[in-house]
């Protein structure tokens, strides 16, 4: 078999141009496939991380009624017990209490429905990165009376800038309409323009005072040391506070969880399609190689090369070609992905569309290591399967005819 392997290896260098074309097409296929996969994964990862870091957090706790009807009266019924459970749980890194009211914001340019997020700024900094996303102004450090931090898109619609006055109205616990003037202290811009358009941050104390809420909590957002601990923590907290609804990020925003799961499958389907196309290229080229060498193959069969050896020789030739191409393709893809993972790919031209989907305009491709391994296996398998067609063709040659062919 060593001699067969030796011949197969030398055979692939008989027609260097053809071999390089096959190698190049495999390299290109792997590179294109992996890079698009990395781009897709990076896009999804950014979308997910953006959502978690900005507004989802890892875990959210609500009154069970709040899930279906985010009503001002659906506050957490046993806040002390809930907060104690959070403090006692070693896997809770930080949490923030939020008082949330639906309301209306108006300026001289118009009035818009919004969600008022009453927060303790220092607590909120632990679970959300809004304070790092300011495009102008400050984050609850300058104005003492009724400061508000609003999203860029809402600011644009309201025609508001830092220091602009806006009027916020909402219904309090007694169903009375409350209106109060707030001053824009900061304007943030997250990866989701829809979020920016709808959410206004104000101090929880201000909201409590104005809405006579007496420290009611509608939502607690919590962060674990790692996203992998979320499921376990959700289970333990739910046991500790059965009257509240404890949800992981993927339950709060199931579309993100599904997207993550779906992406794993889509990636393999996508790569499968690329490899399927690649297989045709390999089959075609190897069939050409067989037809060109009919006389030689006829001679080998005539002098007594058995079918297993002939078959192995053709299969080895294809496997050698892919064995050269796969590491090159993988290395090229790795370098390319690493480069853009640091530098990012600027898709500012499509920024509006991307931001409406909660995706930043700069995409950072991302590819976990295990994908390289599984794609390598898939490519080698496809190369092997592609070699079966030409190998079978070689076996079907009639040695007496092949040996006299031109």
């Amino acid at each position: 078999m060593i001699q067969i392997i030796k011949i197969a290896w030398r055979n692939i260098w008989r027609n260097k141009l053809r071999s390089f074309v096959v190698i190049f097409s495999i390299v290109l296929g792997i590179w294109a496939g992996l890079f698009i996969m990395a781009l897709t994964l990076g896009l999804n990862e950014q979308r997910m991380n953006g959502a978690i870091n900005t507004y989802l957090s890892h875990i959210q706790i609500h009154n069970p009624d709040y899930i279906n009807d985010p009503n001002i009266k659906s506050y957490i019924s046993q806040p002390e017990q809930t907060l104690a459970a959070l403090r006692q749980n070693k896997n809770i890194k930080a949490f923030s209490e939020r008082t949330i009211v639906m309301g209306m914001v108006s300026s001289s340019k118009g009035a818009y429905g919004v969600r008022l997020m009453g927060i303790n700024p220092e607590q909120e900094k632990q679970v959300s990165d809004i304070h790092t996303l300011l495009t102008s102004g400050t984050y609850f450090t300058k104005f003492k009376r009724n400061p508000a931090v609003i999203g860029q898109k809402l600011a644009d619609k309201l025609g508001a800038k830092v220091r602009s006055k806006i009027v916020i109205s909402f219904q309090d616990l007694n169903n009375d309409i409350i209106s109060a003037a707030f001053r824009v202290e900061g304007i943030y811009k997250s990866s989701s323009s829809r979020y920016d358009e709808y959410n206004i941050f104000i101090k929880r104390d201000d909201l409590n005072r104005l809405g006579h809420l007496n420290g009611k909590i509608h939502e607690i957002a919590a962060i674990c040391p790692s996203i992998n601990q979320v499921d376990e923590v959700v289970k333990s907290l739910q046991v500790a506070i059965p009257d509240s609804k404890v949800q992981g990020w993927d339950e709060v925003a199931p579309e993100l969880g599904y997207a993550q799961e779906m992406m794993s499958s889509v990636i393999y389907i996508f790569m499968g399609i690329i490899l399927f196309a690649l297989a045709f290229g390999i089959v075609n080229t190897m069939l050409m190689a067989i037809l060109e060498r009919r006389r030689e193959l006829g001679m080998l069969m005539s002098v007594g090369m058995n079918k297993i050896k002939l078959f192995s020789m053709i299969v080895f030739e294809t496997i050698f070609l892919s064995s050269i191409a796969v590491p090159v393709g993988m290395l090229l893809s790795y370098l390319f992905i690493q480069y853009f993972a640091h530098k990012g790919i600027d898709l500012s031209v499509a920024a509006k569309g991307l931001e409406s989907l909660g995706i930043s305009a700069i995409i950072y491709p991302y590819m976990p290591g295990h994908y390289y391994f599984s794609i390598t296996l898939m490519t080698v398998l496809v190369a092997f399967l592609s070699s079966l067609v030409p190998a079978k063709k070689a076996l079907n040659l009639n040695p007496a005819e092949a040996v006299r062919s031109i």
């Binding site: 001699q3 011949i7 030398r10 055979n11 260098w13 008989r14 006389r295 030689e296 006829g298 001679m299 080998l300 069969m301 005539s302 002098v303 007594g304 090369m305 058995n306 079918k307 050896k309 009639n398 040695p399 007496a400 040996v403 006299r404």
Partner: protein, 226 residues
């Protein structure tokens, strides 16, 4: 002692159709060990078909081929491959060496397929290349050798497996006079000194002149055996 016997050999292509071709039309033949035989005849007379059937590369429509008491027409495809490997040496018109192997490796190749150990096959390959006058060309690949040299490597390769006989299909068709003479000298010597049986199909008068037996085919029948 007969090494090859054919009995009432028929080979009909496209049997029963309008374009039926009777390539062999009842060939009875005996070839003894140590013969130096040329099969001659015009194009389409059945020379190559007869050689292919004797060599186990093709099956007759009817009749039998017995080689050293083995009726090869009863063997299946895999048995035939194995039989060819151990019993028959082939020399082809277009040399048909493996282009990616050196002369030495080409000669070794058959022994490698027979499972001979490396030291033994290298020793024999070198001896054979010396016998065909190519001891200095052992490391050359076919594309670096002349047609005559390539055909001498092919003869060495054919003899490497110690076959019962060598079938040579138009071995001099692509060679010039000098190379033809050299090749015929080598094969005649091997026949004389080592008793190797050679069977040629040929048009070449120079080969016919050196043969000790000439079988003439026409329309698939033996019309002369001298």
């Amino acid at each position: 002692m007969s090494i090859i016997t054919t009995k009432d050999l028929f080979k009909i292509y496209n049997a029963g159709s309008e374009i039926e071709v009777r390539a062999l039309n009842g060939v009875d033949l005996n070839i003894k060990e140590g013969e130096f035989t040329a099969i001659v005849g015009p194009s389409g007379s059945g020379k190559t078909t007869l050689l292919n059937i004797i060599g186990g590369l093709d099956q007759p429509t009817s009749g039998s081929v017995i080689i050293n008491e083995t009726e090869i027409t009863n063997l299946n495809a895999n048995q035939l491959i194995d039989f060819r490997l151990h019993n028959i040496g082939f020399v082809f018109q277009a040399y048909n060496l493996i282009p990616v192997l050196t002369a030495l490796e080409n000669v070794e190749f058959i022994m490698m397929m027979q499972g001979e150990p490396q030291d033994l096959r290298q020793k024999r390959a070198k001896e054979l290349l010396k016998a065909v006058g190519l001891e200095r060309e052992t490391n050359k690949r076919p594309n670096k050798m002349s047609g005559g040299q390539q055909q001498r490597v092919a003869v060495a390769r054919a003899l490497a497996s110690k076959p019962k006989f060598v079938l040579a299909d138009e071995p001099t068709a692509n060679l010039d006079s000098k190379s033809t003479a050299q090749l015929l000298d080598i094969m005649a010597n091997l026949n004389k000194e080592e008793g190797t049986t050679f069977i040629f199909s040929t048009h070449d008068q120079r080969v016919i002149d050196r043969a000790r037996r000439v079988i003439t085919l026409d329309d698939g029948k033996i019309i002369a055996d001298e």
